[in-house]
C-alpha cells in the first residue's frame, strides 16, 4: 500500500517539544521535559495513522504540537497544500497559521470540557464557519443543521446547550465542529477514550463513515490498542517522547520489531476466556521513564528483557526494516518477538 503514496499530506521532521522546568523563587529553568523528542514520520492522504503509547509517552503532546497549540521547540511540520505547495507549519506565526487550521482540525478527548457550556450547539458548531467568513445568518444555521445530520444528531437540537446531551452526543458535536470546514486532516486525541463501550462503537463507526465520505486523513491518538488496531492503517508507537516503531497495522500487530511494542501487545486483555493464559504474558517491570531525566542509551533498556550492555550506552536509531516498517532497536533484525494471538492462530 505504502508504495502508491508518493508525497505525504503531512510530514514531521525531527519535531521537538521540550517543556522547561522552573525551580525556586526566581523561576530559573532547571531542566527540560522532553515530551516530544526528535519525532519524524509521514501521514499520507486518506489513511489513518494510529499513535499509541503509555501515559506520559508524549502522544498527546505530539498531537497538540502538530496543531500548534504548543509551540514546537524544534523541527519541521511539512504540510502539502491541495495545490501541491509544501509549507512548514512549525515556522509560521500565529496569523499565518490560521488558514491551515481550516485544513487540519482536532477532536478532543473530553467532550465535557471541549464544548463551551454557555453556548448553544449552533454557536459552537457555527463558530469555525463564522470566524472564517464562510457562512452567517440563515445560511449558517442551515450548514450547522446539515453538519449535525451528518454526525447523526437531530438538526432540531440547534438551540440546545451542551448540558442537554449525553457524553456520546457531545462527542458527536465535537466531531461536527471538526468537520465544519471540510478539513483534510483530523487529529483525534483519545476521541473515544471517555465514552461508554456501546457509545464507543457508534463513534468509531461514525468516524469511519465520515472518512469514507469526505476522504479524511486521521491521526488517531489512543492508548487502547484494540481500538487502534480496528481503525488504523498504520501505527506509530511512542516511548518517552521518541518514536520506537512504525509499521502497517497488520504487520506491527502480527510481528512487532520492538520489545516495547511486544510488551504493550501482550498486555492487552483478550476478550475471550478461551484464550486465557495460552501465552504467558510479558510482564513489563518498573515504570515509564521520567521524561525530565531519561535513562542513558535506549530509554527502554531498564525495562527490556533483551537489554544488553550496548543498549545502556548507545541510543538506537530508527531503522527501516523493509516495507516501511521502522523500529528503533539495536536488535530489531535478530529478535523474534511475539505479536497478537488470534483465534485462528490459536
Amino acid at each position: 500500500m505504502s508504495d502508491a503514496r508518493s508525497t505525504p499530506l503531512l510530514e514531521l521532521k525531527s519535531l521537538q517539544k521540550h517543556f522547561p522546568i522552573h525551580k525556586g523563587f526566581l523561576r530559573r529553568v532547571a531542566g527540560h521535559v522532553k515530551a516530544v523528542d526528535d519525532v519524524s514520520f509521514k501521514i499520507f492522504e486518506g489513511e489513518t495513522l494510529g499513535l499509541v503509547g503509555e501515559s506520559g509517552c508524549g502522544k498527546t503532546t505530539l498531537g497538540r504540537t502538530l496543531m500548534r497549540i504548543y509551540e514546537p521547540t524544534g523541527g519541521e511540520i511539512l504540510y502539502q497544500e491541495e495545490s501541491g505547495k509544501i509549507v512548514d507549519l512549525a515556522h509560521l506565526n500565529r496569523q499565518e497559521i490560521r488558514p491551515y487550521h481550516r485544513d487540519i482540525r482536532m477532536i478532543f478527548q473530553d467532550p465535557q470540557s471541549s464544548l463551551n457550556p454557555r453556548l448553544t450547539v449552533l454557536e459552537i458548531v457555527g463558530e469555525p464557519l463564522k470566524n472564517n467568513g464562510i457562512a452567517k445568518g440563515r445560511d449558517l444555521e442551515d450548514q450547522v443543521a446539515e453538519l449535525l445530520r451528518k454526525v447523526g444528531l437531530r438538526p432540531e437540537y440547534l438551540r440546545r446547550y451542551p448540558h442537554a446531551f449525553s457524553g456520546g452526543e457531545r462527542q458527536r458535536i465535537g466531531i461536527a465542529r471538526a468537520l465544519a470546514l471540510n478539513p483534510r486532516l483530523v487529529v483525534a486525541d483519545e476521541a473515544v477514550s471517555a465514552l461508554d463501550v456501546s457509545v464507543q462503537a457508534q463513534t468509531l463507526n461514525l468516524l469511519q463513515d465520515l472518512q469514507e465520505e469526505f476522504q479524511l486523513t486521521y491521526l488517531f491518538v489512543a492508548h487502547d490498542l484494540s481500538v487502534v488496531e480496528h481503525i488504523a492503517d498504520r501505527v506509530a508507537v511512542m516511548y518517552v517522547g521518541k518514536l520506537v516503531e512504525l509499521a502497517d497495522t497488520r504487520d506491527l500487530f502480527l510481528r512487532p520489531r520492538h520489545p516495547y511494542t511486544e510488551a504493550l501487545l501482550s498486555a492487552v486483555p483478550k476478550p475471550d476466556p478461551r484464550l486465557r493464559r495460552k501465552s504467558e504474558r510479558i510482564r513489563l517491570a518498573g515504570e515509564v521513564a521520567d521524561p525530565a531525566n531519561p535513562p542513558s542509551g535506549c530509554y527502554f533498556h531498564p525495562r527490556c528483557r533483551f537489554a544488553e550492555a550496548r543498549c545502556k550506552s548507545e541510543t538506537p536509531a530508527l531503522k527501516d526494516l523493509g516495507k516501511g516498517h521502522l523500529a528503533a532497536c539495536h536488535f530489531a533484525e535478530e529478535l523474534e518477538l511475539r505479536g497478537v494471538m488470534t483465534e485462528k492462530a490459536a
Binding site: 497549540i69 478532543f108 445568518g137 448540558h163 465535537g174
Partner: protein, 394 residues
C-alpha cells in the same frame, strides 16, 4: 461576534413540534424541555431561586438602595434641621388606632412629649405623653427640599399634619435632630460609597487581574507580589494613616472621593485574585483551545468564551465586596477620620453614639447601627447565594 449571535437567536427557526415525525430511527422526539435550551443566566436564576434566604436578601438590598435613592422624599425632615427643645427626645411609636369613648377607631398619630424632672439627677428628660396626640398623615407638606437637585418640592412620605410639631419616630439626637431622617439620608452616602468603591476596585481588579492571568510570567509574578504585600498589611491602621492625611480644610465631596479611593486601594486585591484565577484556569480549558483552532481572534476568545464564564463569579465577588466597603467606611467615619459632618453617613451618625453616657440616656442612637447590620447581612447572604449559583454546570 456576539451581535451575530443575537441576530441568530432573534430569527425564527423550525422549532421541533412534539408531533413531528422522527428524522432518525430513534424513538419519538420528546418535546424540547426548558432545561435543554436554558442559557447560563437562566440556569443560575433557577439555582439561585432555591436559596430562599438569598432571595429575601435580594429584596432587602433592593429596598435599601431605593431608600437611598429617594431619601429626600422618604425622610420626614431634612438631615440638618434641629429642634433645640427636643434634645434626646425618645422615639414616639406610630399609632394606627385611637381609643374613643365608644371603642377603637382607626387614626394615624403619634403621642406628644411631656417633660419630667429626674428627682435624683435633677435633669430634664422627655417622656412620651399618652394623653397628647399629634396627628400624622402620608404625603404631607413639610420642609422644602430639592429632589435630586432637580426640582423643589415639600412633599414628604409621612409627617405631622401641622408642620413644626415634633415627630421623632426613632427619637432625636443631642441637637434634637430626627434620627430616622438622618439614617435615611445616611443610607444614600453609605450605600453609594460601597458602590463607588467597588466600582473603582473592579476597574483596578479586572485590569490588573486580567493582565496577570492572561499573560502570566514575570508581570504576573510582580502583580502577585504586590497583592500579597497589600494583603499582609493590617488595613485599618493603614487606612487610618492615609485618611488622617486628608487635610481638614477639604470640601466634603473631595473627602468623600478620597475615602473611596483609599478603600478601593486595598479592596481591589480580592477581585484581582478572582479574575486572575479564572483566567488561569480558563486559558487551558479545551473549549478555549478549540475556539482558537476555530479561528477566533484573541479578543473574540476573551469576550465570547472567557468573560461570560467568569462574569457570574465576578458579580458574586462584587456583592461580597460591597459590605466590606460599607463596614470600612463606617469604621473610619466613626473614628472621625473618614467622612465628617455635615456629611451624613451611618458611620458619622454612629459617632454620636461614641460617648457611653449619651448612649445610656439615648439608646436609640444605635438605630443607624441596625441599618448597617441589616444591610451588611443582606448583602452577605445575597453574595453567598450568588456564589452558590455562579456555576450552574457542576
Amino acid at each position: 461576534m456576539s451581535d451575530d449571535a443575537k441576530r441568530f437567536s432573534g430569527l425564527s427557526v423550525k422549532r421541533p413540534s412534539p408531533g413531528a415525525p422522527p428524522a432518525t430511527p430513534e424513538p419519538s422526539l420528546e418535546p424540547e424541555s426548558r432545561v435543554q435550551v436554558a442559557s447560563q443566566w437562566q440556569l443560575m436564576w433557577w439555582k439561585f431561586r432555591k436559596h430562599k434566604l438569598a432571595l429575601v436578601s435580594l429584596i432587602i438590598v433592593i429596598l435599601v438602595y431605593l431608600i437611598g435613592l429617594f431619601a429626600e422624599f422618604l425622610a420626614p425632615q431634612l438631615p440638618g434641621s434641629y429642634s433645640a427643645r427636643h434634645t434626646y427626645a425618645p422615639p414616639q411609636p406610630l399609632r394606627f388606632v385611637e381609643r374613643t369613648d365608644n371603642g377603637w377607631r382607626p387614626a394615624l398619630f403619634v403621642n406628644g412629649y411631656k417633660v419630667e424632672v429626674d428627682p435624683v439627677a435633677l435633669r430634664r428628660t422627655f417622656v412620651v405623653d399618652p394623653e397628647s396626640k399629634i396627628p400624622v398623615r402620608f404625603f404631607v407638606k413639610g420642609e422644602t427640599y430639592k429632589m435630586w437637585n432637580l426640582f423643589e418640592t415639600d412633599r414628604h412620605l409621612i409627617g405631622p399634619v401641622k408642620s413644626g410639631e415634633p415627630m421623632f419616630l426613632l427619637g432625636a439626637d443631642r441637637l434634637g435632630r430626627d434620627v430616622l431622617s438622618r439614617t435615611i439620608y445616611g443610607t444614600r452616602i453609605s450605600m453609594s460609597i460601597g458602590l463607588v468603591g467597588v466600582a473603582l476596585s473592579l476597574i483596578l481588579g479586572i485590569i490588573l487581574g486580567g493582565i496577570s492571568g492572561y499573560y502570566g510570567g514575570a508581570i504576573d509574578n510582580l502583580i502577585q507580589r504586590i497583592i500579597e504585600f497589600l494583603r499582609s498589611i493590617p488595613t485599618i491602621p493603614l487606612w487610618m494613616g492615609l485618611a488622617a492625611a486628608i487635610p481638614l480644610t477639604w470640601p466634603p465631596l473631595r473627602v468623600y472621593f478620597m475615602i473611596t479611593v483609599i478603600l478601593s486601594l486595598i479592596g481591589w486585591t480580592d477581585l484581582a485574585r478572582v479574575v486572575r484565577g479564572r483566567f488561569f484556569s480558563l486559558k487551558t480549558e479545551d473549549f478555549v483551545t478549540a475556539a482558537r483552532l476555530d479561528g477566533a481572534s484573541e479578543i473574540g476568545i476573551i469576550l465570547r468564551h472567557m468573560v461570560p464564564s467568569f462574569m457570574s463569579h465576578i458579580i458574586a465577588s462584587i456583592t461580597l465586596a460591597i459590605p466590606a466597603m460599607i463596614l470600612s467606611e463606617t469604621a473610619l467615619s466613626f473614628l472621625g477620620i473618614g467622612l465628617r459632618p455635615p456629611v451624613v453617613s451611618w458611620g458619622v451618625l454612629l459617632q454620636e453614639a461614641q460617648n457611653i453616657r449619651s448612649v445610656a440616656t439615648a439608646p436609640w442612637l444605635f438605630w443607624p447601627g441596625a441599618a448597617v447590620v441589616i444591610t451588611v447581612l443582606a448583602l452577605n447572604f445575597l453574595g453567598d447565594g450568588l456564589r452558590d449559583a455562579a456555576d450552574p454546570y457542576e
